[in-house]
């Protein structure tokens, strides 16, 4: 446990000691701000809800989340520090878990910064806090799954940029494009896209509906990719 925490702390330190962490947060908040202006949720007469803003959020997160996790494992390979990690008394699972938790915490901090809109909304209007909670829970669950996938992408290569693209493109294709594709196809493809349709699942949350199959889907996806990352890291030893 202590060594998992050690990895997590170091990873957070690396994110906050390098420009990348701040660039990611700034980029995220900038895009958010633009969306807020564009959707005009603060215009007079509009309903006091962030639903319109956060509808776009999964798209943004496909780019942002892999940027958080891209260097986590790839950089260890590139700089050779993986050697001192893998010869220290901690299991590959503990190492991956520590890194994953750091990514989740960073994501939560970043997401927490958008609470300012909710606070403003509460100051000038009367938002439904229950619905807002469901919205944030949905986003956090997306963060859990995307971060796990991002860490997985990072374990596949020793190049950060490649890790970022490997994280971003499949997330975009599966999680977001499937939202549009799901109505166009039939049979098993439809069943598949229905399952991986992140935006569709998130819509339920954004309506204030916490659906158990959604919760299970995101947590299970996160667990699957953490597991796969451990397997990739382990398999690297045998090469």
């Amino acid at each position: 446990m202590r060594n998992t925490m050690a990895i997590m702390q170091r990873e957070l330190l690396a994110l906050f000691c390098s420009p990348i962490g701040y660039i990611v947060i700034a980029g995220f908040l900038l895009i958010n701000g633009v969306i807020v202006l564009w959707t005009g949720v603060f215009s007079p007469g509009k309903a006091a809800t962030l639903r319109d803003v956060f509808f776009w959020m999964p798209w943004v997160l496909t780019v942002i989340v892999p940027a958080i996790s891209m260097r986590m494992i790839s950089e260890e390979y590139r700089s050779g520090t993986i050697e001192s990690l893998m010869t220290a008394p901690l299991s590959d699972f503990q190492m991956v878990l520590g890194k994953y938790l750091a990514g989740v915490i960073f994501f939560a901090i970043m997401l927490g910064a958008t609470l300012v809109y909710l606070v403003l909304m509460a100051a000038y209007g009367n938002p439904d806090l229950g619905a807002a909670f469901a919205l944030y829970l949905g986003l956090f669950l997306i963060g859990l799954a995307f971060t796990a996938y991002g860490v997985f992408a990072s374990s596949l290569t020793s190049n950060q940029v490649v890790a970022w693209i490997l994280g971003w493109v499949p997330l975009l294709l599966f999680a977001c494009v499937s939202y549009f594709v799901v109505g166009q196809v039939e049979g098993w493809l439809r069943a598949l896209f229905q399952q991986v349709n992140v935006i569709g699942r998130f819509e339920a949350f954004s309506r204030g509906l916490v659906r158990i199959d959604g919760v299970v889907f995101f947590i299970a996806t996160a667990a699957l990719f953490v597991f796969l990352t451990v397997k990739v890291v382990e398999s690297r030893r045998w090469r």
Binding site: R2, M5, I7, S18, S84, T87, P89, S91, W238
Partner: protein, 309 residues
């Protein structure tokens, strides 16, 4: 402390380490010598549980590297060849991080850090980011990390590579001091380095173990068939003929050098006295008489050139 039996490691079909067997006793400093690409780092990576072997087994401090990997990792301090460190961390932060990874609590960690920082002369740089340190200091940070948990076995992969001569000497004396409390295995491709610090030398070449023993033993191996060089003032043919008559001389090579005759004798025993007597009897002045003692360097070069001993 370290037991290696029939260890092999293949990368694809190429054998990086090919069936090597050796042992290291407690408290020894053992040098692992071989030219670049001989399989030293691969062997070390297997011993430190970084990668598994293809064949064979190895135990470190009584634990098998494959089945009791965590126990091995707990008892080994390892300095990898490239000294991988996180450039954005400060020295103190890094050592704390490594201490936590090793499961040490705060008190144990802080006292261990104090100990290794003093030992590796890091006091002046403890608050500096690692990325700003010179190669020599980085090497010491790596060594401090390897010593942090006071391991039974220290495995150092090319600990002095890239250091200046003064730092090399400091590192060497540090390693010798450490041998009092730890079993040390260090690798190198530079012979004098290993000769100066180690009690035992294991030489590998192209993945195979070609020789092992103390520096003296290895030197003795090469000195068999020592040659003796003498220069006498006499006709080449006569000198050569007289030398052949001496008991124990197996081969004579003679050549004329500005009026003198230089003979190189291959002998099974020490014939210096006999050569002197010949020079007396024949009244051939003698201006040089020396034994050509083989150095470990010759031995090493011979091995690297492909001669098995």
């Amino acid at each position: 402390m370290i037991e290696v039996r029939n260890l092999s490691k293949y990368y694809g079909s190429r054998a990086a380490v090919d069936d090597i067997t050796f042992g290291v006793d407690e408290g020894q400093i053992v040098g692992f010598l071989g030219p670049n690409g001989a399989g030293k780092t691969t062997t070390i990576r297997i011993l430190t549980c970084f990668m598994p072997a293809t064949n064979g087994s190895a135990t470190v401090a009584g634990h098998d590297v494959l089945t009791a990997s965590m126990r091995v990792r707990e008892s080994v301090g390892y300095l990898p060849e490239s000294v991988p460190l996180y450039p954005e961390m400060r020295v103190r932060e890094y050592l704390r991080f490594r201490g936590k990874l090793r499961g040490m609590d705060r008190a144990a960690r802080e006292s261990a850090i104090q100990r290794v920082v003093a030992r590796c002369w890091l006091q002046d740089v403890i608050g500096r980011p690692i990325g700003q340190l010179s190669k020599g200091f980085r090497q010491r940070v790596g060594l401090a990390d390897a010593l942090l948990h006071n391991p039974k076995v220290l495995i150092l992969d090319e600990p002095t590579v890239g250091l200046d001569p003064r730092q090399i000497r400091e590192t060497r004396s540090l390693i010798q001091e450490l041998a009092a409390d730890h079993t040390v295995m260090l690798s190198s491709h530079i012979l004098p380095e290993v000769e100066a610090t180690c009690q035992r030398i294991i030489i590998i070449h192209e993945g195979q173990l070609v020789a092992q023993g103390s520096p003296e033993e290895l030197r003795a191996k090469v000195t068999e068939g020592t040659s003796l060089i003498a220069e006498l003032k006499g006709p080449v043919t006569d000198v050569s003929a007289e030398m052949r008559k001496l008991a124990g001389v197996t081969d004579v090579h003679a050549q004329a050098i500005d009026g003198w005759t230089q003979v190189t004798l291959t002998t099974a025993r020490d014939v210096r006295e006999d050569v002197y007597k010949v020079s007396q009897e024949k009244s051939w002045p003698l201006r040089e008489l020396r034994r050509d003692i083989a150095t470990l360097e010759d031995f090493f070069v011979k091995i690297v050139a492909g001669t098995r001993v």
